[in-house]
């Protein structure tokens, strides 16, 4: 990682990064199971899925045979069983967040609807996986495993309802559960009624996990229930949604009116004073489910951004070939539109956004893989102390928060100078470790979903533009037009952007997270010292500015004296959440490229041509860090100043601070030039300069302005990095044709 000007001797990117590079960046070089999974899923994505899309399978809202055939392909390639543990017919042991992330990534590289179709089954099972009883797990997991010629049971997840209830606000449900029959000494039978809206997989689902509220005094609160197609009553998949996107997945508006045994309550229940009390409310389950599956969705958009790079380079490069006035060998023939700086710069933005999004998504998926066993370990430890579920658990964890913060603070101190014994004890404590990781996960999950899909959709539009007229046709190589539109769904389902921003505004102020965030600032500075060209320093400054702004906004009030940082002030909290996402994405990208710098040289395949690749990726990081810094600077400045009242000539207090004309004349005679520093002056006749009012004051904000100015300075060199990367883009070798039909 370095920063030098373009010179002949500088190595640059030779080919697009292949699997070996990705395995290092995304840390699965030692996971052969995952490497195989990637190859297996890729064969399906770039084979049958791509052919279906090219044949126009997306043109129908109906669930056609062509779409249905893909399910068999998923079964055969092991995609359906990725989610299952080996004891239930799966083949991957241990946590599966990274595995699912890679699966979604590979499928969405070609078509995100295919990714949705394959993963919605996991979503249907997820409530059972996260909170189901051991019996429920065994039953539904094993029936979901493809085996021999048996068609596996496929699931759907049903939360969303027709208006007026469940949407972004997941609290209010009109789906109801009541007691249908409860014979003395026997298990109650439940009557479940629910209408769903936009439910994925319904055309072929054999079971549904549905969120319902109690409509009966004999049932407490809300819960999720498992409904089967063969249950007594109505299990109607309903009409297909006329969606504009993800047409390879099935989406309908189902109707359920069924009688099921109470054993179908996900996670089981107890009976207290003659009332059925579900062990988990629907929102507890949904929270556990979504915090994992949302990461996967974020990676779909990341894949699409990265998949756009190769077709765009090819289009630009070959743009003028074949024209009579463009002889082979001429720059126009060889480089085509790549002769123009703007296409290179814009494509770099697409690429870089894709890299940052993928780095952010995969690192978060890995974090969940680490968190999953820790979560169970923490439960075990606390249970041994007599703490079980609900509020008791919540309180017990809160009590340990200071320990987690202390642990992070100690981690920041040099090993020789901290209380090592205390640090070792805290660092080995599963509850402390859980709290630290959980606080990160609570921020990173919504960040992935929000930034990757929301900002990603904007950048995909840019990718479509870069393909000109082709971009907006079905013939566009790489299906870019579809990918752009599809991103809008990724930004919407499993909680649209507003939900992610709302969640971030809560979780990003968690003290454990903030202690961690401070460590990350130091980490970026240390990386910057080793890899000065990576943009890590600019990023660290931007992180400081963000932190300063958050602290400030949490205390500050607006011109009317109303608190700024509060749940209902989304104009404050939401942009600050957006800013944080930019930082996290850029940080993840830098960390991955550092990993490549450190692991690449000893890798037998990657080491060849590593220098050029490393230079390119480093420049890409730098450009991305500068973009992030720019966004953060803008957002923070708007928030810090935007809620203050602008001084006016009419308000007495405002211009009282201004100099009078004769005062200035006196000062000028003592210190010549001094008046240049005082823009606002009132003349003897009371007149003043022609502008909105006296200039705004910076009282109490000097730290901010100092940091902001420093941040602007940190942008130094970032566009040189972009120029170098642009040069690489115009010289990289690409395959002659895309490896899937379009």
């Amino acid at each position: 990682m370095r920063a030098t000007a373009i010179g002949k001797e500088t190595q640059t990117l030779r080919t697009l990064p292949g699997d070996d590079v990705r395995q290092i960046l995304w840390r699965f070089g030692d996971r052969f199971d995952l490497q195989m999974l990637v190859q297996s899923v890729r064969a399906v994505a770039r084979g049958p899925v791509a052919r279906a899309v090219a044949n126009g399978a997306r043109h129908s809202h109906q669930w056609t045979k062509e779409k249905d055939d893909l399910l068999r392909e998923f079964d055969a390639a092991g995609i359906t069983s990725v989610f299952l543990d080996p004891e239930f017919g799966g083949y991957l042991a241990g946590p599966k967040n990274l595995a699912l992330a890679l699966t979604a990534f590979e499928l969405a590289w070609v078509d995100a609807g295919a990714a949705t179709a394959s993963l919605a089954g996991c979503l249907g099972l997820a409530p059972i996986h996260e909170r189901g009883t051991p019996e429920q797990k065994a039953e539904y997991m094993s029936r979901s495993a493809p085996g021999g010629d048996r068609t596996p049971l496929r699931g759907a997840f049903c939360l969303t309802e027709p208006i007026p209830y469940v949407g972004v606000e997941t609290g209010l449900l009109s789906g109801k559960v009541r007691i249908a029959e409860w014979r003395e000494g026997q298990e109650p039978l439940l009557h479940v009624t629910k209408r769903g809206r936009f439910i994925t997989n319904m055309d072929f689902a054999g079971f549904v996990t549905a969120a319902v509220d109690s409509g009966d005094p004999k049932i407490h609160g809300s819960c999720m229930v498992i409904l089967e197609k063969t249950d007594a009553g109505v299990f109607d998949p309903g009409a297909p949604a006329r969606k504009l996107v993800h047409q390879l997945s099935s989406t309908t508006d189902p109707i359920f009116d069924l009688t099921v045994p109470a054993s179908r309550i996900v996670g089981g229940y107890t009976i207290e004073d003659g009332v059925v009390v579900p062990n988990y409310s629907h929102s507890e389950i949904i929270e556990a489910v979504f915090r994992r599956t949302r990461v996967t969705v974020g990676l779909m958009t990341a894949a699409k951004l990265l998949s756009a790079v190769e077709p765009l380079i090819r289009y630009h490069r070959e743009r003028f070939r074949g024209g009579e006035s463009v002889p082979p060998g001429s720059p126009r023939f060889e480089l085509g539109l790549q002769q123009r700086e703007d296409v290179l710069h814009r494509l770099l933005e697409v690429w870089s956004t894709g890299e940052a999004a993928a780095s952010l998504g995969f690192s978060t998926a890995r974090l969940f893989d680490e968190l999953d066993p820790l979560e169970r370990e923490k439960e075990r430890v606390l249970a041994a102390q007599g703490v079980h579920g609900g509020t008791a658990l919540f309180k017990a964890l809160r009590k340990r928060q200071p320990d987690a913060i202390e642990c992070l603070t100690l981690a920041a101190q040099p090993a020789g100078r901290r209380n090592q014994e205390r640090y070792d004890a805290l660092a080995a404590d599963p509850v402390v470790r859980f709290l630290a990781l959980d606080a990160q996960a609570n921020v990173l999950c919504p960040a992935v979903k929000l930034w990757n899909t929301g900002h990603g959709a904007n950048v995909l539009r840019e990718a479509v533009s870069l393909m000109g007229g082709y971009g907006i046709t079905e013939d566009c190589p790489g299906f870019l037009g579809y990918k752009w539109m599809d991103a809008q769904l990724e930004a919407t389902y499993e909680g649209p952007e507003a939900v992610q921003r709302r969640q971030l505004s809560l979780t990003m102020t968690n003290e454990v997270f903030l202690a961690q965030f401070k460590l990350w600032i130091g980490e970026m500075r240390r990386i910057a010292a080793r890899y000065p060209g990576s943009g890590a320093c600019a990023l660290a400054t931007a992180m400081e500015l963000w932190l300063w702004t958050l602290n400030h906004l949490q205390k500050a009030t607006d011109a009317a004296g109303v608190k700024l940082y509060s749940g209902n002030r989304q104009g404050v909290t939401f942009p600050l959440a957006d800013a944080l996402c930019w930082l996290l994405a850029s940080r993840a990208q830098i960390l991955d490229v550092v990993e490549l710098a450190e692991q690449g040289p000893s890798h037998p395949v990657v080491s060849e041509g590593l220098e050029g690749l490393q230079n390119f990726f480093t420049d890409l990081c730098h450009a991305q860090a500068a973009r992030a810094a720019g966004e953060v600077g803008r957002i923070c400045a708007e928030l810090v100043f935007g809620y203050r009242r602008h001084p006016s000539w009419d308000a007495e207090g405002d211009y009282q601070g201004c100099y009078q004309e004769d005062e200035l004349i006196a000062i000028e005679s003592l210190v010549p030039g001094m008046s240049a520093w005082t823009p606002d002056m009132i003349r003897e006749d009371g007149s003043h300069a022609s502008k909105a009012g006296p200039c705004a004051r910076m009282d109490g904000l000097h730290d901010f302005t100092r940091l902001r100015a420093k941040l602007d300075g940190c942008l130094t060199g970032s566009l040189l990095a972009r120029d170098r990367a642009a040069h690489a883009l115009a010289h990289v070798m690409i395959p002659q044709a895309l490896d899937y039909p379009a």
């Binding site: 070996d20 195989m36 190859q39 395949v605 041509g609 690409i734």
Partner: protein
């Protein structure tokens, strides 16, 4: 009569021939080694044919003997190992069209001879009739000679096991025809052309089972004896490209058909 076989498939790696790299302007050399590696396509057909044969003959076993750079071989195994159960015997060595066929055959022969428990009555030696990196079509013959297998078939497109256990083999000959031979039975060497049977789909479950043997085999992989010691290349050049394309606008279909027919008759 149901015989089970021990099928030893020899396969190297080649830069993915479906992914030629677009040369960049300027003096940069087109570096094929920068392409992702795949199992040499001809040998891959042999492996898939072996997979189908082994599946239809319970008790059969497939061995894959590969001489290739270990790290690249590992990557390729992530796909290939999902297609059929096999035991890998890996030799760490170069992947290039410049390796001499005789030396490669010698290295492979040593590796094949090292397989414990090979029974000549059940032994079929498979490979590609040529390689995507080199079209000499000599390695498999030399290997068979070294291993003392005298029934040798080249450019095989189909193998059928007869009731009595004899082998009926279709070899490609000129003009799209086949020469059909009957061979008493193993041991025999079949160097495959494209074969007839489909590539098995990936099955991660098979892959996971294979990996238990593949990873240790890769770790054990001995460096092949240095290749290229015995030969010297005086000159290397790309074959001169011949291209007979004419761009003709607005030609009538009849005219195009007439011209094509004339060309074919020629």
């Amino acid at each position: 009569m149901s015989v089970s076989y021990q099928i030893v498939v020899c396969a190297g790696l080649a830069p993915d021939p479906l992914q030629t790299l677009e040369p960049v302007p300027g003096p940069a050399l087109k570096n094929e080694l920068a392409l992702p590696a795949v199992l040499d396509p001809w040998a891959a057909h042999a492996l898939y044919e072996a997979a189908h044969l082994a599946k239809s003959r319970p008790g059969s076993k497939v061995y894959l003997v590969a001489l290739a750079p270990k790290a690249k071989l590992q990557q390729v195994m992530m796909t290939v190992a999902q297609k059929l159960p096999f035991e890998l015997i890996a030799l760490d060595g170069p992947m290039s069209g410049f390796a001499d066929a005789a030396e490669v055959a010698a290295a492979l022969s040593a590796a094949v001879s090292g397989i414990a428990g090979l029974d000549r009555e059940r032994w079929l030696l498979f490979g590609g009739w040529e390689s995507a990196t080199r079209g000499a079509g000599a390695t498999m013959q030399m290997l068979a000679e070294r291993l003392g297998i005298i029934d040798q078939f080249l450019a095989v497109d189909e193998l059928r096991v007869e009731e009595d256990g004899s082998l009926r083999v279709w070899e490609r000959v000129e003009g799209g025809g086949h020469q059909v031979s009957l061979c008493e039975g193993p041991p025999a060497m079949l160097a495959w052309a494209t074969g007839r049977l489909p590539e098995p789909v990936n099955n991660p479950q098979i892959g996971m089972a294979n990996m238990r043997g593949v990873m240790p085999a890769l770790q054990r992989a001995r460096p092949a004896p240095p290749l290229g010691g015995g030969i010297e290349y005086r000159k290397v050049a790309l074959p001169a490209q011949q291209r007979q394309t004419r761009v003709v606008k607005d030609a009538a279909p009849e005219e195009i058909a007439r011209e094509l027919a004339a060309w074919i008759r020629e």
